[in-house]
Symmetry: C2
Subunit: 624 residues, 2 copies
């Protein structure tokens, strides 16, 4: 083995695999070093990819030539479009994965990249030459040289698993922690702090009474993640739905003192957005039930992931709480739920390129930056890998702006605001979210990806062809004028009960809320464009043009309110539409101005708009 | 989860999975507890099942309703019959596995067994009530009750990985060790000692020049392991062959002092039969080349397992030695080779049932008993699981005799002789090996398995049908008399150039070495029996009847030589056919009689026969 590389990626999770793939795709000599080659691409927690905000990140990673979307398309066993009935900005794809097929797919995709070398080893230290980063040192003493190192150690740095009042050192249940490296990073005075997250117990599906549960099948046909996927070939499975109930909540409340989280065993902060069931019961005390999705873990295993009951209660309480739910009365558990506490590095040390300010050449991505979620990790990984490779080539870093990508929003948030709890992506974090849609991720990013060297010929050809088709179709509809009194106009009028008063183009009609692409073209007796992706893009473009313009106005207007005072007696609970989370944060900090409010971590641009409207309305009321 | 079981199996390796499957198949409440559900059925070392002696064990496990043969038939990517041209006693099946498909298959087979429950957890202690075994305690404090416990902890008890002069605690690379349990077993004064084994580095197949290497495809059609498998449906792959050379041996010799094994870092003894490449170079100094098989690790990975170069040299030396071989000049390594040292419990504490004498209710199987190999582990696991379940039901233990199964030979060897190095199965260990063949494993064991409750209806029906067919075919051939002068006799004579002198049955002809089943029946213009397994069994039965009888004589005769003196000046090197291993042992101990020689561990019955012949001949020569 050569032991001189351009980029060394430490960690084979979701961040590490994208980082290594991105760097290697640029052709620089890349090494992916990970604790155990058999856990490459392992899903630590739920067997699912995507969801609102997260699906957007996956499509962005895909548009930039990443692997996550391709992998889930080869391993997904239930695909759905969430919010299908809502606006395209919040529409998102989500898929359940067969856990072992997913790992296989990631491994296979990595092995297809020529400049990428994999190696199994545990990194124990950074190799320094004077104050210059020069590579890494394995716990076995082996030195691997490379002036760019990407750390993606996930929950492994000083990882500690908690359940009830018991705890032990681990990177995740069954995997050893990365303690040597954690100690070294602390010794080198990196800004280290602790966070925590949790996972639910797993259930043996043979013990579930599915007959009393609502089934939730996927969409037909399954909506793929990758812009390159023609169709999903994996057999599909349904999820099932159950609920917590008063009894469940009583069990939890009665045992709260025994929870690792509430019993004082864990100091660090967990994700508010994937709260433990203990959290939910405490914070939403008024709610008498929470929905729990029973997600299959694979095609040929009975193991089931109960999404929504992450817990660090003692195991016996876990059994009781699971069995209090409908359909789970006789549930047998396969693995206990637990919480894990781990080191992260304050991302305010990072440039927007994800390179450390303190130690040039060191890049960080994923959970180590304080984020949570596979998709957040993957997107950062891609960016860090890209910029590490660019640095190796003496090229300037590249990062998409907040207006270009959720990836841009996330990195900007992390680097400028830091965090006080695990950071997760939401559409509400993006002030330009009407244009940061899943459907146009390729349009936003694939040309960048091509210029950066991330996008291969096949993807570029597919992208260009799609854009040509969209444009041809746009022109065709634009060129098609319908005259009042023509036969077409008659059919149009019959459908909308509104006769045309002047010449219109088919494109103008498509912009109107009455029409979708298919019914319009059928009514006009025109042949349909056969490319479904192209059709979708054209349709959304037309329909959305107005909203996007309006959003720009709103944002500009909001900027003008920067200095607006918030009344000292403000009742935040009265602000319509604020999430519980934002409400709590505002109520706790009570900022004096809208500008100050907007800089409180976790207070989203959307929340600021709501606040502005409220303050303005209150001002008018008091004035009136 | 219920927490009261009849049988608790600790460990999800090859012993543990068979133990759990066997116990659960008997219908007793069985729990399989393992560190990580994702590593159930994991192959720690080479991606292959079977081989000489080992294939026999796999077929025995299958005949007793076990899972290993079914799993490899669902995951095998190259199947061969070894020694196909030799006698059926030493013929053996061997298959390469797709590592991840193998794990999937094992997991799926386990999940199909109703009385079996899986649970992820690390056992830290045995639960005692007074001096009675009452269950196990997890490292998280959870207590699981069950009066029968089967320990199958593999290389994990106090496991320590070594490479060069570096070492660290691990159960195997990437997995944490079982230290708490190891400490408890020592504290409880179990007879603990240390052994070691090793594994080679893995190679990135993309860096191998296959064009200069000899390919070794599997047999067509692939010979299945399980008596239940109709045909292998997995795509097949070839292995490749390269060799070590003088240069390789020089590199190793020059760096021997740096080897964990030879540098004094490991005290314990490793397997003589899977020696490290350091061992081979030292012990067979005269050999200028060793054959190395390059085995694919799976269908869609480039990872390659170089069978034959297990090593604990420092990693940089590993790279050098790999690259000294043809086709590997540019080899890139994916994982380092290493040695592992671990605790085992002296099996002389065990009954033939594999139950501990010291602690009733505790059973041990696999590597923890000092054996090496997946197949040895699986066979012991099945026996331990069976007998644990029988104990739960107050039934007497069952163990096959040395004349019935390799499993019987192995357990008898372990329990009565103990070991001073990892125990591996060889055909030469079995004095009745002419009747302990792969082909008749079902005949030897399936009726036992049925009576014991291990064999389900499907297998029993298949077995009975096959035996009916064999018997019908035997009767058909027995009833078929060929008269000298008949047309059939003429065709027979034409083939063998020997006219018939009297009436013979077709069965008698089949016993003769001239004929195999197919050519005989074709010559007689008779329709063939369509069941290939049945045909094979009948043919071998006929051909082998004579040999088997002769073997019985030999064994009886050997018993008579028990008190025969061995000359004090005996030159063991002059004994024809002794293995290097046996030779060294005899030369070291210089036993006074044949009887004493036969009780030296590792000195096989076959070796005793050779020794007897030699001593007798020498006696005659000196007398003459
Ligand atoms: C118990 C648990 C619960 C979770 N719950 C949630 C949840 O509810 N919601 C959610 O969105 N996310 C959750 N996650 C987080 C999710 O798993 C991560 O967000 C995601 O996996 C992060 O990806 P990553 O690449 O940063 O890290 P990981 O996927 O953790 O990958 C880290 C990789 O680095 C390797 N590694 C670590 N240290 C070293 C070293 N020194 N040398 C070599 N290799 C090393 C590891 O072996 C691993 O391959 C949970 C994770 C755990 C463990
Ligand atoms: C580095 C290495 C090299 C090897 N080389 C060879 C070779 O050259 N030739 C050969 O024939 N064999 C070799 N082997 C041995 C082969 O792997 C074993 O023979 C075989 O796996 C034994 O099966 P087992 O079931 O006894 O143990 P394993 O397959 O090791 O399984 C042990 C199981 O127990 C679990 N476990 C351990 N402790 C606990 C606990 N306290 N609580 C819960 N679960 C626990 C583990 O997670 C694992 O699932 C090698 C093994 C290693 C690690």
């Amino acid at each position: 083995m050569q032991n001189q590389f351009d980029v060394i990626v430490v960690g084979g999770g979701h961040a590490g695999t994208e980082a290594a793939a991105a760097a290697a795709r640029l052709g620089v000599r890349t090494l992916l070093l990970t604790q155990n080659l058999d856990t490459i691409g392992q899903m630590s927690c739920n067997p699912a990819i995507g969801g609102i905000g997260k699906g957007h990140l996956v499509k962005e990673v895909d548009a930039l030539g990443g692997i996550m979307a391709l992998a889930i398309d080869q391993a997904g066993i239930q695909f759905r479009t969430l919010n299908a009935s809502k606006g395209p900005a919040v529409r998102a794809t989500r898929a359940q994965a067969d856990r072992s097929l997913y790992k296989r797919a990631v491994r296979r995709l990595l092995e297809d990249i020529p400049a990428l070398q994999l190696f199994q080893g545990m990194v124990g230290d950074l190799l320094m030459e004077g104050d210059q980063l020069a590579g890494v040192i394995l716990e076995t003493g082996l030195v691997l040289r490379g002036p760019q190192v990407v750390l993606t150690t996930g929950t492994f740095l000083g990882g500690r698993v908690h359940m009830g009042d018991q705890s032990y050192a681990a990177g995740r249940a069954g995997d050893p922690p990365a303690n040597a490296l954690a100690q070294r990073l602390r010794a080198m005075a990196f800004p280290v702090a602790r966070l925590k997250t949790g996972t639910p117990p797993r259930i043996d599906g043979r013990s579930i009474d599915y007959s009393v549960l609502e089934a939730q099948p996927g969409d037909t046909p399954p909506p793929a993640f990758s812009f390159m996927t023609q169709r999903i070939a994996v057999p599909q499975r349904a999820c099932h739905i159950t609920h917590t109930n008063i009894r469940t909540h009583e069990i939890i409340a009665a045992n709260l003192h025994q929870s690792a989280m509430y019993g004082g065993h864990i100091q660090s902060v967990g994700p508010r957005y994937c709260p433990s069931i203990e959290d939910k019961v405490v914070r939403f005390a008024a709610k008498s039930a929470h929905q729990i999705f029973l997600e299959p873990e694979g095609l040929d295993t009975h193991e089931v992931y109960p999404n929504g009951i992450s817990t660090s209660l003692p195991f016996t309480v876990q059994v009781e709480l699971v069995r209090s739910m409908r359909g789970l009365e006789n549930a047998v558990l396969l693995r206990p739920g637990y919480a894990i506490e781990y080191d992260y590095l304050d991302p305010r040390d990072l440039h927007l390129s994800l390179e450390s300010q303190r130690l040039p050449g060191l890049f960080c991505a994923g959970q180590i930056n304080g984020t949570t979620g596979y998709e957040e990790a993957a997107a950062q990984g891609l960016l860090a890998g890209l910029n590490a490779a660019r640095r190796a080539r003496d090229l300037a870093a590249w990062t998409p702006g907040r207006h270009e990508a959720y990836l841009g929003v996330m990195v900007d948030d992390l680097v400028t605001r830091g965090l006080d709890e695990p950071y997760r992506m939401f559409t509400s974090r993006a002030e330009y979210r009407l244009q940061l849609r899943e459907d146009n991720a390729d349009l936003r990013l694939t040309p960048h990806g091509r210029a950066l060297g991330l996008v291969n010929d096949a993807r570029w050809t597919a992208f260009s062809t799609k854009q040509d088709i969209v444009q041809a179709e746009r022109r065709r509809l634009e060129g098609l004028r319908i005259h009042p009194g023509s036969a077409s106009a008659g059919r149009i009028a019959a459908k909308t009960e509104q006769p045309l008063s002047r010449d219109v183009t088919a494109l103008e009609l498509l912009r109107r809320p009455d029409w979708d692409y298919v019914s319009l073209l059928n009514t006009l007796e025109l042949p349909l464009c056969t490319d479904a992706q192209a059709r979708e893009q054209l349709e959304i473009e037309c329909k959305y043009a107005g909203y996007v313009a309006r959003q720009h106005d709103e944002i500009t207007r909001a900027a003008r309110w920067e200095g607006t005072d918030i009344p000292a007696d403000m009742d935040y609970a009265a602000v319509r539409g604020l999430s519980t989370e934002v409400l709590q944060r505002l109520a706790r900090q009570r900022p004096q101005t809208i500008g100050l409010a907007s800089r409180i971590p976790g207070v989203t641009p959307a929340a600021i708009s709501l606040l502005l409207i409220h303050v303005k309305r209150r001002g008018l009321q008091q004035a009136g």
